[in-house]
């Protein structure tokens, strides 16, 4: 194995990991819940369009909503049963909004629809392979949930130098990737080779943290010269895309740029495992590993069906509702607090963290210590962003690259004044997006308004013109006479015609 030089990125934190809470027990296959809630949008891009009706019987793996456009994915039934409802349900979202979902009532049989795998994927065209990923509904299982085929497709348009499979699970508490690697290393390696074939990359790296020795040992015997396993230091947020690229290549992804512009494609290990299932067995993405951890009797990893309510997952690990518990989807650094435990697990949910009442401390004024800027892995100026977020200065926020913020939470973590900085940035991002949307809408409305005015003017002119024409052609009396004349002529013609017919008959 050739060795890759390890570089480092700016800032970051060494955190207590709390991984041993959940990574020693093997994962449990979660029993069927009494309902499955499948949001039509579990990825970045357009929501899917439903294809089923309420009351219809569906089978596991059946497509129940079709993708709308290129950056979109189909939704598959994750178990067999009847469609109970199609409507608005709470989804895992920091703003707590409701979104269109399909609800399935499982019949307990878990019957698969007819699925078929591919015997030899190496004979397949890379594009066909990518389409297979899309049809299997594979979106990034790591963070944002970017449809995998879009990332892959970019790969065929640009030469791909390097494919990185991201097994860096840098957030505390989360161990689902660790468990997945230990239990299914063959899936991951095979899936990695499939993605490698789909993007035709020259080099492939699986990046893993130093403190995951068992996972490393599971993977090593399966690797060949085609894939390199690189151990990276355990620093938060090492697993973030741009930070990991910096560590592995020493190069920074430019502001506003994408890794693909540098010839790099990155996927999560979970995506690799899903790719293996999709290609070799024809199984769409219907389940995933999630970590249930924190203040519960038996924290561990579960294999759950997508769409399982969060409460059902937590109850498998001995959760009972207590006042003062807060439930976080995701890790302690980047996760979002959920109010409602009926929200479903979606493709990007990797952790359910139950914590005792958060002791956040009261927010105090900024003392300008500058700690936040020291730990920011994107090298932003968190203090400045904080002031401009408070005053909603959108131009300044854009100038200071608010949208480059990866919301890793390092700044909030080190803030001695307990200022929830990331919270302010999220609000500001949302505000700016809304404002940009309304400005676009306003300019469209303005265009329509101007066209409307133009049309009114045109109609008025036309009306005036026709009135003028009428008055030029003569006075109303003359017009009457003109009509009379026309009627008379018509009548004369008819009489003449009748006469001719009569003559013909007589002859």
């Amino acid at each position: 194995m050739s060795s890759t030089d390890i570089h480092s990125f700016h800032g970051g934190l060494k955190l207590e990991t709390y991984k041993s809470l959940s990574n020693n027990l093997s994962s449990l296959i979660s029993p069927l819940p009494d309902k499955i809630i499948l949001p039509l949008k579990q990825h970045i891009g357009h929501p899917a369009n439903p294809l089923v009706k309420i009351g219809e019987q569906v089978y596991k793996g059946q497509i129940i909503a079709e993708p709308d456009g290129y950056v979109s994915l189909p939704v598959h039934a994750t178990t067999s049963g009847k469609i109970r409802d199609i409507g608005l349900y709470s989804v895992p979202d920091p703003l707590g909004i409701k979104a269109p979902c399909i609800v399935i009532e499982p019949d307990g049989m878990d019957t698969w629809i007819d699925i078929r795998g591919v015997d030899n994927y190496l004979e397949m065209d890379p594009v066909t392979l990518q389409n297979r990923f899309r049809d299997a509904g594979i979106s990034g299982l790591g963070g944002a949930g970017f449809p995998a085929h879009v990332k892959l497709k970019e790969g065929t348009q640009t030469e791909v130098e390097l494919l990185i499979i991201n097994a860096v699970e840098c957030e505390p508490y989360i161990t689902c990737d660790d468990r997945l690697i230990r239990e299914k290393p063959d899936y991951i390696v095979a899936g990695t080779r499939m993605i490698l074939h789909a993007v035709q990359a020259r080099k492939c790296i699986i990046a893993i943290e130093e403190d995951m020795p068992d996972a490393v040992n599971a993977l090593l015997p399966l690797l060949d010269d085609d894939i390199e396993l690189v151990k990276v230091p355990t620093i938060y947020p090492q697993g973030s895309e741009k930070q990991l690229i910096k560590t592995l290549t020493g190069k920074a992804v430019p502001s506003g740029g994408l890794p693909i512009h540098m010839g790099i494609v990155m996927h999560n290990v979970g995506t690799a495992a899903a790719a293996y299932r999709a290609v070799s067995r024809g199984e769409p993405l219907v389940s995933r590993y999630i970590t249930v951890t924190g203040c519960i009797p038996s924290p561990r990893n579960l294999q759950v069906l997508i769409g399982t309510p969060v409460r059902h997952c937590a109850e498998q690990c001995g959760y009972s509702e207590k006042s003062g518990n807060s439930i976080i989807l995701g890790g302690p650094m980047m996760g979002t607090l959920v109010q409602n435990m009926h929200v479903p697990v979606i493709k990007t949910t990797h952790c359910i963290l139950i914590r005792n009442k958060l002791n956040q401390g009261t927010e105090m004024p900024c003392i300008r210590c500058g700690n936040c800027a020291e730990v920011c892995p994107v090298e932003l100026l968190p203090q400045q962003l904080y002031w401009f977020s408070r005053s909603s200065d959108h131009n300044k926020l854009k100038q200071h690259h608010l949208f480059e913020c990866i919301e890793c939470g390092c700044c909030s973590y080190v803030c001695p004044s307990n200022i929830p900085l990331v919270h302010y940035y999220r609000l500001a991002k949302n505000e700016i997006n809304q404002r940009d949307l309304s400005i676009t809408k306003a300019s469209e409305s303005r265009y329509r308004y101007l066209k409307h005015q133009e049309r009114l003017k045109h109609e008025k002119k036309k009306k005036k013109l026709s009135v003028e024409q009428l008055s030029i052609s003569g006075k109303p009396n003359e017009k009457k006479a003109y009509i009379h004349e026309a009627v008379r002529r018509g009548r004369a013609k008819r009489v003449k015609k009748q006469q001719v017919r009569k003559d013909q008959k007589d002859e």
Binding site: L88, S392, E431, A442, S443, E444, S445, R446, R448, Y449
Partner: protein, 168 residues
């Protein structure tokens, strides 16, 4: 010695301010002042500001006749942006005008509609479709929530519904 230092300091400050201002305005500097103001307005043409539409209001602001906080659909955000653009002091939305509303959409009760076409000609953005003696309906994506269609309706079949957040 001190005066020299002071002069250099002041010069650098004024240069910094100049650079900052030119950067903000560079996208829209090429436009007339009225147009620059008009772009920030929501283009509902609702007339709640007391003028005949967005452009007349923009003209009035440009001429300094009226305050920058008279636009309810734009709310405090528009007011803040206008204050940045015009350099006048920020004022919260004038409470005498309507309070800052939620995004709304007109909805026609299709059972009551008699097809009189009056709302269609009232809509400033052509967001209502229909024909004489045929049922009319609002295209929600195009509706700006200006409420101008409500008054002309002879059977009171148009109501304003809050735009749900997923629709936006």
């Amino acid at each position: 010695m001190m005066t020299g230092l002071l002069i250099i300091l002041m010069l650098s400050i004024s240069l910094a301010i100049l650079a900052e201002n030119s950067r903000i305005g560079s996208e829209i500097l090429s436009l007339e002042k009225t147009d620059r103001i008009n772009i920030l307005l929501p283009q509902t043409q609702c007339g709640q500001c007391g003028f005949d539409g967005c452009e007349p209001y923009a003209t009035a602001i440009a001429e300094g006749i009226t305050a920058i906080n008279q636009c309810p659909p734009g709310g405090n955000i528009t007011s803040r942006e206008l204050s940045r653009l015009t350099g006048s002091e920020y004022q919260a939305l004038n409470p005498a005008r309507q309070s800052e509303p939620l995004a709304k959409t007109a909805l026609i009760d299709e059972e009551l509609c008699i097809g009189c076409v009056k709302c269609i000609s009232a809509c400033p953005v052509d967001a209502i479709v229909g024909a004489p003696k045929q049922m009319h309906t609002v295209i929600p994506e195009l509706c700006t929530g200006c409420e101008l269609c409500i008054a002309p309706c002879p059977v009171d079949c148009i109501e304003m519904e809050p735009k749900s957040r997923i629709q936006i």
